[in-house]
Each structure stands twice: as C-alpha cells, then as structure tokens.
C-alpha cells in the first residue's frame, strides 16, 4: 500500500509539474497605423500513426480489462486498467476520440456521404461493441475514462430502488435518440458538447460545463456511475449487445450457494436476485397484462411519433442556421455577443436571406421526419420496457444482469466460493 501511495504521488507530481511553466503570450493588438499583421499559422494536425497507436492502446486496454474480468476475476486488475485508461484516454488524449461520441461520427457518415469517417473512428466505435459481444461490458469496467473518473470517487454507495433504476434507465435511450437525430441532420454533436467530464480532462470548459461535471462527481460519491447508468447513450448499445454476450462475468466461479453475501456488493444494482419458486400473482393476470402491454406498443409508437413531429421546430432550434433565421425573423430583445457574431458572419458569407430561409425551410422538413422517427423509437422503447416488466422468469441464483452489469468485478470478492473449493 505504501509503495502504491508513493508511486501515485510521484505520478501526479511528474504529470502536473510541466503544466506550471507554460510560456506566456498575448494576442496582437489592433493597429490603426496601417501595420499589416502577418498571417496566423495553425498548428499541424496530429500525426496519423498516433491515431493508430491510440487504436492499439484501446485494443490492449480492452484485452487487459476482459482478461482481468473473465479470466482472473480480479477487481484490482480492473481498477488499475481503469486508472490507466483515465490517464491515457482521459487526461492525455483529453477525452477525444472516445467510443461514446463516435456514435455521432458513424451516424453523420451514414447520412452525409460528403463526410469521410476516419477508419480509426470506426474502430473506436465498433471495437468496444465487439468485445462486449464476447466478454460483456468490459469496456465500461476498465477502459472508459468517463466511467473511471466516476468510479474512483465512489466512496459511500447508496443503493437505489430497482424500480427507480429501471425508470431512470430509459433516459439513455432518449439521449441516444436525440444524439442520432442531431448527428444525422449535421446539427451538432450533443454527446461531446454536453460531456460533463471533458472539461476536467482538458482543464478548460465553460463555467456551466465545469459546474455540471462537478455536480456529476458529487453525485458519484454516493450513487455509482450516474452518467453511465442514466445518461450514456453508448451504454444503450453496450447494454443490448451484452445481453447476448458469449461470456459474461459471473459472481460465483462455479455454482451459486445462495449465501446472500453478494447482495450488497454491487453499487450499481446490477445483481439479479433469485426469484421465488412460485410467483406472487396468478399466471392469467400476468399473461393478460403482458398481452395488453404488447398490444399498446403500436399506439405508443404512433403517439410518440406524433409528439416528436409536433416538437420538430423546437428540436430544430438547436441547428445554427435555424437559430440565425429565427433571430432575423423574430429578433429577440437580448442581443448577445454570440448572436451578433453569427449575424456578422452571415453578412460576410455573401448569401442572401432568402437563400438562408429556403435552407432553413428544408431543415425544418427534415426535422419533422426526424421528430416522427425519434418519437416513434421512444414509444417503442417505452412499450417494450413496459411489456418486459410483465414477464416472469424463474432463476434460483444470484447472477449479474447481463444488460446493466458494468463488469467492474466488485462482486467477485464477496463470493466465498472459490474454484478450488467447490460448494
């Protein structure tokens, strides 16, 4: 422990020391004398081989995390991999490129052929999903820097009621739907813009984003990984993939002896408790309810689609061109600097207002269709979730919920069953 502490301290000192000696520069003043400012030089882009190096590091980290989770069943190992991931993908690479945001790149590439998605981004998107397909959510366990930063501040986990978790667990679907809509319409990458932790990784963000990140970290002290469980849109894809994963972490290495020691081991509420032999309600009741809930799925899809289509103008207001047109047509009383800059930029673009308005008209039509699809998707998700909540499945053991389990391997240490000492 002492060695570890010393190493840790050294690491942080060495990391932060260079940051205190940045050279100071200030911008060129504006000259009235006719002095011509030399052209601004932009820094060269990052070397391409480094992007491939990141891919290698990703593969290495995923492999290590999967090995620690599935083979070694070592919480310590997972913890160290996650620290490394926090340092490398978080602070060194400043949170970009990350698989969580890469969803948007992929969607943008699908809907806009002019956008050429780099191969490394495709790999960042698909590799964690591939590993999840084989080993469960080992990416969440030990590679995602967003999860890691929340994990290390989890001091006093408070268990949420299962029904609260289930209800809140639908928010990532909404976020994913919105992120896809905005990426598909080339409006914005909302996942990246509203990443609460990237400000810490970059030591730079607006006050609001730093404040939001701070709130998330404060909440993370007590509620395990709130962003991962109740917001992460990429987690939706991992959740669905993990349910059909070939291998998954098990609490017990052999057979469960129902000792109940692991009941409180998961701070994320991802352990399925054994179900009673006899269900507490009549089968006919539950079947009838299930059928009813399945029948209402199509109306829910329609209702959701209709509501989404009605909201299309509000949804489209995020688009910068729509905002500009709105400001020109319906000027707001508060003219912020941001608005002034956008209007000045438009002035110099050479476009006429009619061209802008025609473009915005087209964008609104796209959002109308997008609103239908988003609302319909959410209606489907809600409907399927409700129907699923009527199903009864008997299972006698304590097992991780394959969808929501983050494979952090905290539970394995609670199980008294050892491979060499079968029950």
């Amino acid at each position: 422990m002492k060695k570890f502490s010393v190493l840790f301290l050294l690491f942080f000192i060495l990391y932060f020391l260079p940051g205190t000696s940045y050279a100071q520069r200030f911008p060129k003043p504006e000259f009235d004398s006719g002095h011509v400012q030399p052209p601004t030089l932009t820094p060269a882009p990052r070397a391409e081989f480094l992007a491939w190096f990141d891919v290698l590091v990703l593969i290495g980290s995923l492999s290590a995390a999967s090995w620690f989770v599935i083979k070694k069943r070592s919480r310590k190992g997972v913890f160290w991999v996650s620290l490394f991931a926090l340092a490398y993908f978080g602070f060194y690479r400043e949170g970009c490129i990350c698989p969580v945001g890469s969803v948007q790149n992929v969607v943008l590439a699908m809907f806009h052929p002019a956008y050429i998605i780099p191969a490394t981004v495709v790999i960042f998107f698909s590799l964690p999903i591939l590993f999840t397909l084989f080993f469960g959510r080992t990416f969440c366990a030990g590679v995602c820097p967003l999860g890691a930063i929340q994990d290390i501040v989890l001091f006093k986990p408070v268990k949420l009621k299962p029904w609260v978790q289930t209800a809140l667990g639908l928010i990532p679907y909404i976020y994913l739907g919105l992120a896809i809509l905005y990426a598909a319409t080339a409006t914005d990458f909302v996942i990246c813009r509203y990443d609460p932790f990237v400000g810490f990784f970059r030591f730079d963000a607006t006050f609001n984003m730093l404040f939001l990140g701070g709130i998330f970290l404060l909440v993370s002290l007590f509620i395990g990984r709130p962003y991962c469980r109740f917001l992460c849109p990429y987690g939706v894809l991992l959740n669905l993939t993990s349910r059909i994963s070939r291998k998954h972490i098990a609490i017990t290495p052999t057979e469960c002896i129902q000792c109940r020691l692991c009941e409180d081991s998961c701070p994320f509420g991802a352990i399925e408790l054994p179900s009673p032999v006899k269900p507490a309600e009549k089968r006919e009741t539950s079947v009838r309810r299930f059928i009813l809930l399945v029948i209402i799925i199509p109306p829910l899809v329609l209702a959701g689609g209709f509501a989404g289509s009605m909201l299309h103008e509000n949804l489209a207001s995020v688009h910068p061109k729509v905002r500009l047109a709105k400001q020109l047509l319906i000027p707001s009383k508060e003219v912020t600097e941001d608005i002034k800059v956008n209007i000045d930029a438009f002035k110099t673009s050479g476009k006429t207002v009619n061209e802008l308005y025609a473009e915005v008209d087209g964008i609104l039509k796209v959002f109308y269709v997008g609103g239908w699809l988003l609302g319909g998707f959410l209606g489907l998700v809600f409907g399927l979730t409700l129907a699923n909540l009527s199903k009864f499945k008997y299972q006698p053991d304590y097992i991780p919920d394959k969808g929501t389990c983050l494979s952090c391997a905290r539970c394995v240490d609670y199980c008294p069953v050892k491979p060499e000492n079968p029950a």
Binding site: M1, W163, T166, F203
Partner: protein, 640 residues
C-alpha cells in the same frame, strides 16, 4: 480488494492527515480560482476606462507622441495583467486537480481500511412484483408526461418560425388590401406627380405625365403640397370626408416653402427626404490640417442626433443617464448661444431606461418650425423651446420599451409635432399641438419596435406621413392620423427611414428587402431587390435615381421606376450616416469621418473624399456654403 491486507492504524492516521490537508488545500485553491475567474470576467483588457480616456485625448491631439507612448505602456500593462490572471487560473486548475486526486486517493485508502466483511442483511428485499409494478407505473407516468410536455411546447410555439418563414419567402400572398373606407381620396386635378395607373403586377411601370427632369422636382412638389396644406384652412385637394379641419387659426406663423428650403428643419432636411436645397456646398476639406474647417465646437454631452438649422442657429441635443440638454450654437462663430437643461417634466422617470452605447439617450433628431424647437429623449421626455431656449411646454410620453434605445426623429407638419412611437409597449404615431403639447391624435399601429423616422411626402397631392416598421409600411393623414394605405413587406429591426420620389416610396432593411411601393387606392409593390440592403442609413431618391448606402461600405444606384441597378461602388468603410443630395451631388459620410461625394448620376463619378479626422455616425446638415458635421464630442462647420 476486500480480501486484501488492510492498512495499519498508523497508516490510516497518516492518510487521514493527508486527506484533511488535501481537502483544505483543494478548497482554498478552488476558492481562489473562482475569485480570479470573477475578476478576469469583470475586466476587459481592450476596453479600460483610463486608456479610453487617453485615446480620446489622443484623437484630439494626434501629434502628442508622449501620450501615444503612455497609452502603449498602459495597454501593455493591462494585457499583461489579464494574461497573468489567466495563467494563475490555469496553474490553479492543475494544483486543484492534484489536490483533489490526493484527497480521493487518501479517502480510498481510509475506506479500504474501514471496510467490513459482508453481512447478510436480515431485512427482506422488496418483492420483484412490487418493483415491477412500481417501475411500470413510473415509466407510464414519465412517458405520458413527456408526450404532454411535447404537445404543450408545440402548442405554445405554434409553428412560429415556420409561419414567419412562409411570410418571408412569400410576401405577395400576405399583402393586406387597404380597406376602401381608408382610401376615399379623390385624385386632384393638379396632382403634382403625374397620373397613377393602378397596375396589378409589380413589374409594370405606371405611365407618368409631366415627368420632371429636375433632380429636386418631386421633392419640391412634396414640399409644395405640404406647405399648401399647412397654409389653408380647407383642404383644397379633395380630402376624405372624415378629414378634420386643417391648421387652426391660433397657430403660430407657419413657415413658407422658401423658409423650409432655406433652412434645415429636421433630420435629413425638409420633410426628412434627404434633399438639401442649399447652394455652394463645399466639396473639399481636411480635418487634420484644418483646411476649410471654419470652426469646431465641443458639445458638452454627446448624442447621436444630427444637427438641424434655422437661420443662424444650429440645434442639437445631448444626454447621458443623468442629464438631458438642448444646445443652440451660432452658425457663424460656433459659439454655444444657450443650453437648456431638460428636467422637471411631470411623469418623467427617476432613472433613465437602459440603452446601448451605440444608441445613447439622445438619438432622435430635433425638429423646428421656425418658431420653436422640439426635442425628445430616450425616457420619453419631449420638450418644446422657443428659439431662445425658453421652455414652452414639456411632457412625458411614457418610457419607450426599446432594447437599444428610442431613436425615431421628430418632424413638424402644420402646427403639429409628429412623433413615431413604435415601441414594445404599444406602437403608435401621434401628433402633439406645437403650441401646447396636447395630443391632437394618436393612431395605434400593429408593428414591432422601429428605429426609423417619419417622412413627409405628397402622395396624389395629399401630404402624408410615411412610416416604416416591421411588418408595415404605411401612410397617414397628418391632420387626423387616419391610415391611408398600408402594405406588408419589411421585416426585422428597422433602422432606415423611407425615401420618396415621384409618387414612389422606397423602403429597405437588412435581411429583408429593398422595396419600391406605389401607394394609392391599390397600394402595390413596383419592384424589389435583396442584393444590397441597409440596416441604418436611409436611402435617398431623385426623380429617376435611388441611392442606397450600407453600413458595410457598399453604395448602389437604382432606377426608381424599374429597380434596374445602374452601378454599385464599394468604399473602404461603411456608413451609419444617411446619404444627402445637394446640388446634384450625393454626400455620404462614412463611420471614419470621410465624406464620399459623388454625382447623383447613372454612372458613378467621384467628386471628392475629404476626411474630417474624427469618427461620425450622424447625418450632415447643410446651409448655404456650409456643411455641419457632428462627431462623438464635437460639431464641425465646414466651408471655404
């Protein structure tokens, strides 16, 4: 980890100490960062008051090299201070991260030390059925709430943007026909601007009889009619049945046509049309060397209103948030003859409304009828003074709800003071009695806030007040305030006032259109263009040519009847001042104080670009042989 070797008690104590130290350290650093951040946000290194004051002095004394050096040093200090603070925040950020990391690590060690072995809870967990039921309930509630919120939001916004887009892209389909009862004007036999053929399409050009060749003819006819109407008690042009009587007999002597042309009674000259009738207007001067600068007078309080002139007196207003003043300056010597403080007005607010720096509290131009001068300010105070500065009457119109600041200039017509009061809290145009300030009429308008000014024009022999705002261009009877015609077409935050020539009204606004409108029984658009648009300078027209200046330096010349563009020319700097036409030359003052003088012809021909040496946003005023230019702090008289 739970099975790992636990730290010893001594270690735990050490880590507790580290945790406390790291926690306090992080808290202090966090506090300092926030304090620094607040400080850095308050100070703008490129807008320091001390430096601004010195720069002002440098503008007045451009040769002072010591002052120049002092400014450079202070500027460098301000920038260094700013970036030092930034560096402090950044370094503080690193230290905070280090402190927090240490704190977290210490806490992890302490928690690991305190971890107990798992104990099977004696409490029964809630049944899965209960959890499922509750989950279904809350998911259903959440889903219904989301749909309800979506529908409510959609209802509230009511496709506002789409409707406005439709209007903007298809303005023709939204043209409001003028009700018949408002258009019962008879066309007079001696209509000065030719016959008006009602054309159904906007591209056809109406036939014109007696087409005037003189540049100023149409303006003359407007003034003629306007003066005729003022000087008679009956309306000789076949007025509408519901027209009220013209000027009352107890009014002051009304200025004649010659008087109006000899003077410069309002913003953009007589009628606000942008035409000056003065002669021998200078075309060259140089502010730096003083060539042809006859005098320069410092105006105590700044304002963006343009000067007006009557006889040998120039009138201006100036104001800040605490004080409002009217100044009278001698035309020949530049001496301030009198200053009247505007205060003690019943209903005047205790605090001035918030205005932007580029509008100020004294943006509207004054007006005079030769007997009295009139001024209005950002807080709604309007005052009438005699030519010696003695107060005649004053009242408060109510604080105009205007996010930039009230800017519409005044104009007089007969014995009335016309005020365009298009504000957020109820738009209207009103007429006050010149003698008493009593409200003679007030016509509400369904328009948004406008910064344009009223213009007087002769439409079918009748004097009309022409106003521009979003979304209407309208003409009003100055005697009754009745709306004679209206047409939709201009959107946005309207700054430019209308131009008028030969029976055609020209309006424009940035991000909207340039429109030529033929008012009449069937008001229609003759032509439109969206190539060059103005957000501040008002256009000006002669019989055949329309001149449009923009705030980004481009000037264009169009055919008034067809909209055909004859030429365009780009100057280095744009203008906020409106172009004026005098002696068949266009005078356009740009923001840097350079006057671009070019011929009012179908081909661009520059006459001169004399520089004042000071920035200006005001429109020039003219008297014979003289031009008067107002800058931020001074009034210049230019002449040979």
């Amino acid at each position: 980890m739970i099975m790992d070797k636990k730290p010893t008690e001594a270690n735990v104590k050490l880590w507790k100490g580290i945790a406390i130290f790291a926690g306090i350290f992080s808290f202090v650093i966090c506090f300092l960062i926030i304090a620094n951040y607040v400080q850095i946000n308050r100070i703008d290194p490129v807008n320091v008051q001390t430096i601004n004051a010195l720069v002002q002095r440098l503008h007045e004394n451009p040769g002072d090299s010591l002052l120049r050096e002092q400014i450079r040093e202070l500027d460098l200090l301000a920038r260094k201070a700013y970036f030092t603070t930034q560096w402090q925040i950044r370094t503080g950020g690193y230290m905070l991260i280090a402190g927090v990391a240490l704190f977290v690590m210490a806490l992890q060690v302490i928690i690991a030390a305190r971890r107990k072995y798992p104990v099977v809870s004696s409490q029964l967990t809630e049944s899965y059925l209960f959890n499922q039921k509750n989950a279904r309930k809350w998911i259903a509630i959440g889903g219904i709430a989301m749909v309800a919120i979506a529908l409510v939001l959609a209802f509230i916004t009511h496709n506002e943007l789409e409707n406005n887009l439709l209007l903007a892209l298809n303005p023709q389909s939204n043209q409001e026909p003028v009700p018949e009862n408002k258009m019962s004007l008879k066309i007079p036999d001696d209509a000065v601007s030719g016959s008006m053929v009602g054309n159904p399409t906007e591209t056809e050009v109406p036939d014109l009889k007696n087409k005037s060749q003189d540049t100023n003819d149409n303006q003359n006819s407007a003034i003629d009619t306007f003066v005729k109407n003022r000087q008679t008690e009956q309306n000789p042009q076949g007025a509408t049945p519901d027209n009220k009587k013209a000027a009352t007999s107890e009014t002051n002597k009304i200025a004649s046509v010659e008087d109006l042309r000899k003077n410069f009674p309002s913003f953009r000259g007589p009628g606000g049309l942008g035409i000056a009738y003065q002669k021998d207007i200078p075309t060259s001067w140089d502010g730096a060397s003083g060539q042809n600068i006859l005098w320069k007078t410092k105006i105590p309080l700044s304002g963006f209103n343009s000067p007006i002139i009557w006889d040998d007196k120039i009138f201006l207003t100036g104001a800040d948030s605490k004080k409002k003043e009217v100044y009278c300056i001698d035309r020949n010597s530049g001496k301030i003859l009198w200053t009247t403080v505007v205060n003690n007005i019943p209903g005047s607010p205790d605090t001035s409304p918030k205005v932007t720096d580029d509008t100020g509290h004294a943006a509207p131009g004054m007006a005079t009828d030769g007997q009295q001068v009139y001024a209005v300010f950002s807080d709604g105070d309007v005052i009438a003074l005699d030519m010696n500065g003695v107060r005649v009457w004053a009242k408060n119109l109510g604080i105009p709800k205007n996010h930039y600041g009230y800017a519409s200039s005044l104009i007089t017509c007969n014995d009335k003071l016309i005020i365009q009061y298009d504000q957020g809290n109820g738009a209207k145009v009103m007429a006050l009695s010149s003698n008493t300030g009593d409200e003679l009429w007030s016509t509400p308008r369904k328009v948004k806030i406008s910064w344009a000014s009223p213009v007087l024009a002769s439409v079918k022999g009748q004097t009309e007040i022409i106003l521009v705002a979003d979304p209407l261009v309208a003409g009003y009877d100055p005697e009754t305030g009745a709306e004679r015609w209206t047409i939709k077409g201009v959107t946005g935050e309207v700054g430019p006032s209308a131009a008028f020539s030969d029976g055609i009204v020209f309006v424009t606004n940035e991000y909207s259109k340039l429109l030529a409108i033929k008012p009449g029984e069937k008001t229609e658009k003759l032509w439109e263009s969206d190539e060059y648009l103005s957000d501040v300078p008002s256009p000006v027209a002669t019989a055949d040519l329309l001149f449009l200046a923009t705030s980004y330096g481009l000037v264009a010349c169009y055919d008034t009847k067809t909209g055909n563009k004859y030429w365009e020319h780009e100057f280095d700097n744009g203008s906020y001042s409106s172009p004026m036409i005098a002696e068949n030359k266009v005078y356009l003052l740009d923001k840097t104080g350079v006057m671009h003088i070019f011929k009012a012809e179908k081909e661009f021909e520059a006459v001169g670009d004399p520089a004042l040496g000071e920035k200006s946003v005001c429109t020039p005023a003219f008297s014979n042989g003289r031009i008067f230019l107002r800058t931020q702090n001074n009034l210049f008289c230019i002449g040979s």
